[in-house]
């Protein structure tokens, strides 16, 4: 997170954290373990009323930001989601809303955005990971057919696909990438829920077998949507970065308290130099995580030329170091840290999922090098 927020942003963050504290305390998060949806639609709509879904959509399309920089505002929500390991399709709904606002037709904007903005429509984004050559993978292909396009392929894992009222499918064509809005109940679409690591975020396999969509379902230019997809990837990585760092800060805080309270050999854990030095490293990784997450958000918000690189630097760094921070905090707890009863695994699950969605650290390191070669 940024070091300084405007008064409005502070209030927005405070409101969000208070809401999550009341509606999604850790005990409630645990109860979603066996829930098929992993979140409660009523709460999600209330969150939408607080502004969680409108930040990446311009005012003239019904959205609006707190500070004029909507993505920076959204990182405040993502940070709070991390601190509370909160349930809800924050990433897919915001990315799809941004995609439709950016590249969708007027008709699409009219039909789709109101539901996304008020929380009544849940959306999923079917896409693969960034590739070593700087592109973005997809398991789905699109070919032109009479009056529209036919989609074939498989994508997994897709967040909230089984809960979604709307799919945004990124597909490849001979010319380049294309994106389509597809109804989950369209003929040829099969959505199979998967066992998800996170207690509340749900993932599914999406199979498309000869799915016919009209030309009007295309979001942006068919075969030339690569820049739109890149932008969506950047948004997704910024949200994940902020969420993971928020989660890690909470973990570090309660682990530090534990180190003061836990005595061994007549001394608190916090008095051992080995333990102190590991906390010093963890504090450094945390601050570095905040710094690069904030830099990534600023770069994407302001369309900086190096935004593709900075988001990958954030994903690679946070995926390795900030996740390792949480693992090290598990170690600090000893046996209790690997029990289901302790809360730390809830956070570890969340940051682990963020570590691998939209590219692993290794994927992003390869991408960084490709981007560097292009800049050279």
């Amino acid at each position: 997170m940024e070091l300084t927020l405007s008064e409005d942003q502070e209030l927005f963050g405070e409101t969000t954290r208070r809401f999550l504290g009341a509606r999604s305390p850790i005990a409630a998060v645990r109860e979603f373990r066996y829930s098929p949806d992993g979140f409660e639609r009523g709460s999600w709509r209330e969150g939408a009323e607080l502004g969680w879904t409108s930040l990446l959509v311009p005012e003239e399309l019904g959205g609006g930001s707190v500070s004029g920089a909507g993505l920076l505002d959204l990182t405040i929500v993502a940070d709070a989601f991390g601190r509370h390991v909160a349930p809800g399709p924050l990433l897919p709904v915001n990315v799809v809303a941004a995609a439709v606002a950016r590249a969708g037709s007027e008709a699409q904007q009219r039909e789709v955005l109101p539901g996304l903005l008020d929380g009544s429509t849940i959306a999923a984004w079917c896409v693969g990971a960034p590739t070593a050559d700087g592109g973005i993978a997809t398991g789905v292909s699109a070919r032109a057919a009479a009056g529209g396009f036919v989609l074939d392929g498989v994508q997994e894992p897709v967040e909230a696909a089984a809960q979604a009222d709307l799919l945004l499918v990124t597909a490849r064509t001979d010319a380049g990438l294309a994106q389509f809005l597809v109804a989950p109940d369209a003929r040829g679409v099969a959505i199979a829920p998967l066992e998800s690591l996170d207690l509340t975020r749900r993932f599914a396999r999406v199979e498309l077998a000869g799915v016919q969509v009209p030309a009007a379902a295309a979001v942006g230019v068919v075969g030339a949507a690569d820049a739109d997809v890149e932008r969506q990837l950047e948004l997704a990585l910024v949200i994940q970065a902020a969420e993971s760092v928020g989660a890690a800060e909470t973990v570090l805080d309660f682990t530090l308290e534990w180190a003061f309270d836990r005595y061994s050999f007549g001394r608190p854990l916090a008095s051992y130099q080995e333990i102190k030095h590991r906390f010093a490293d963890m504090k450094t990784w945390l601050e570095a995580g905040h710094a690069i997450a904030a830099a990534a958000a600023r770069a994407v918000q302001h369309d900086a030329a190096d935004a593709p690189e900075v988001v990958s630097v954030a994903a690679a760094y946070i995926g390795d170091y900030v996740v390792e921070l949480v693992q090290d905090c598990v170690q600090m707890h000893g046996g209790i840290g690997v029990t289901y009863d302790h809360d730390i695994h809830l956070y570890l699950r969340r940051v682990t999922v963020n570590r691998v969605l939209h590219g692993t650290p290794a994927d992003h390191r390869q991408r960084i090098t490709t981007l560097q070669e292009r800049a050279a």
Partner: protein, 428 residues
């Protein structure tokens, strides 16, 4: 060139110039007044006459900055600075990338030495020395470490004894980088052996070129002969060169080491020039190495290059966050140790990655090969974790002073320093 040091300070002597306006003015001025090229930074292999020329060049460039109204951006105006903010300095620093810049004169002259003088010096000391530093006329060194102990700085054995209006100093200081081309040293000495360690220290300004001070250069594993050791024998210093109160030197020492760590972490408001660590490079220089030896096509090498670039960028962003946070008061000053630690760990890892990419050329290479010198850099790698305060001390600092964890147990509290063990007990 524009005229006078104050030209960059304020518009009409009133409101502060905006950062953007300052940036644009700096951009134009730098383009018109500095040559493109690498910063005049730390050690390069050169003969003694080349060294003399190098330092003269650095002093001249510093003078040019001063005359142009771009020296001492965060220094108070009454001491020749511009009285501007950290944001102005950061904007200026980013503009200096790609220019020949007197980087070697920044640390330790401006931080920690000038920073310490600003906080603790007398009015006369500040007026005499700080403008001279900003003009490149005075280069300062820190006479801090001693051969008997590295991290235990307060365990200084070098002793000053009062003799009328003068002090007589005996002892030895070490790890002063570039004392042979410098003019003054800020020196921590023991003035009282009958009180506990931290309560018997004082700080003096010492002229380096004078009888009673003998200086030796130390050759490091990378061939650098920049570090020195000084031997002070009955060196006489007037009491007017004392900084702070007698026996209160540790109050200064704590701030001194903060300013040092802050400079090492890249967040000091007193250090100008291209950001270290290349965080602002558009392209990582390691990419060129992998291109030239052909290994850039290997996925493993591409992974390593990605990691190296990642560390470079994250280090840059962290340094900026830490500096901003301290300036805003959002962080305690001890947070500087966080940036210092990251500077070291990222540099260590990048050095190792360079070694991996260069492969056997580390063992032997022709001069001019892109890998030339990387083997030596690897052998010298740990210097990044030692100089400017070890990473162990940084970790102590973060855990104890930032996170509030318990202090390490020591055996030098509440006993006169002369009774503190300074070696193993004599064998019977």
């Amino acid at each position: 060139m524009t005229s006078g040091a104050a030209a960059g300070a304020t518009v009409d002597g009133g409101e502060l110039e905006s950062v953007e306006s300052f940036r644009l003015r700096a951009r134009d001025w730098l383009a018109a007044n500095l040559e493109p090229g690498p910063p005049l930074g730390f050690y390069r292999s050169m003969s003694e006459s080349e060294e003399v020329e190098f330092i003269a060049r650095a002093r001249a460039l510093q003078r040019r900055l001063f005359d142009g109204g771009f020296a001492g951006i965060c220094f108070p105006r009454e001491y020749g600075g511009l009285g501007l903010t950290l944001a102005h300095l950061q904007a200026f620093n980013r503009e200096t990338v790609g220019y020949e810049f007197p980087t070697i004169l920044q640390v330790p002259t401006f931080s920690p030495c000038a920073a310490v003088l600003l906080e603790f010096g007398t009015e006369e000391q500040k007026r005499r020395h700080i403008p001279a530093m900003l003009k490149g006329d005075e280069i300062w060194m820190q006479f801090l470490s001693e051969p008997s102990g590295g991290s235990d700085v307060a365990g200084a054995l070098t002793t000053a004894v009062r003799d009328g209006d003068e002090w007589v100093i005996n002892g030895s200081k070490i790890w002063t980088s570039g004392a042979y081309f410098s003019d003054y040293g800020l020196c921590l000495v023991r003035t009282n052996w009958d009180v506990p360690k931290h309560r018997g220290l004082s700080v003096f300004i010492i002229e380096i070129r004078q009888p009673g001070l003998e200086l030796q250069r130390i050759e490091m594993v990378n061939g650098s002969r920049e570090f020195c050791q000084e031997f002070m024998t009955d060196l006489r210093v007037p009491d007017s060169c004392r900084v702070g109160e007698v026996d209160d030197g540790w109050t200064i020492g704590i701030r001194w080491m903060f300013h040092e760590r802050n400079a090492m972490g890249g967040g000091s408001p007193y250090v100008a020039g291209p950001p270290t660590g290349g965080a602002r490079d558009a392209v990582d220089p390691l990419l060129d190495l992998a291109r030239r030896n052909g290994r850039i096509v290997e996925p493993v090498v591409r992974d390593l290059l990605g990691e190296a670039r990642m560390l470079q960028r994250v280090h840059g962003e962290l340094s900026r966050r830490i500096a901003d946070g301290m300036a805003l008061g959002a962080f305690p000053d001890n947070i500087a140790a966080v940036a210092r630690l990251m500077t070291a760990t990222s540099q260590v890892r990048r050095t190792t990655i360079a070694t991996e990419i260069a492969g056997p050329a580390i063992a032997a290479a022709e001069r001019g090969d892109p890998a030339f010198g990387l083997g030596t850099a690897f052998v010298n790698r740990q210097a990044a974790c030692i100089g400017g305060g070890t990473t162990e001390m940084a970790r102590n600092n973060i855990s104890e002073r930032v996170l509030g964890m318990p202090r390490e147990i020591t055996f030098d509290k509440n006993v006169p320093y002369r009774d503190v063990p300074k070696g193993p007990p004599a064998k019977s």
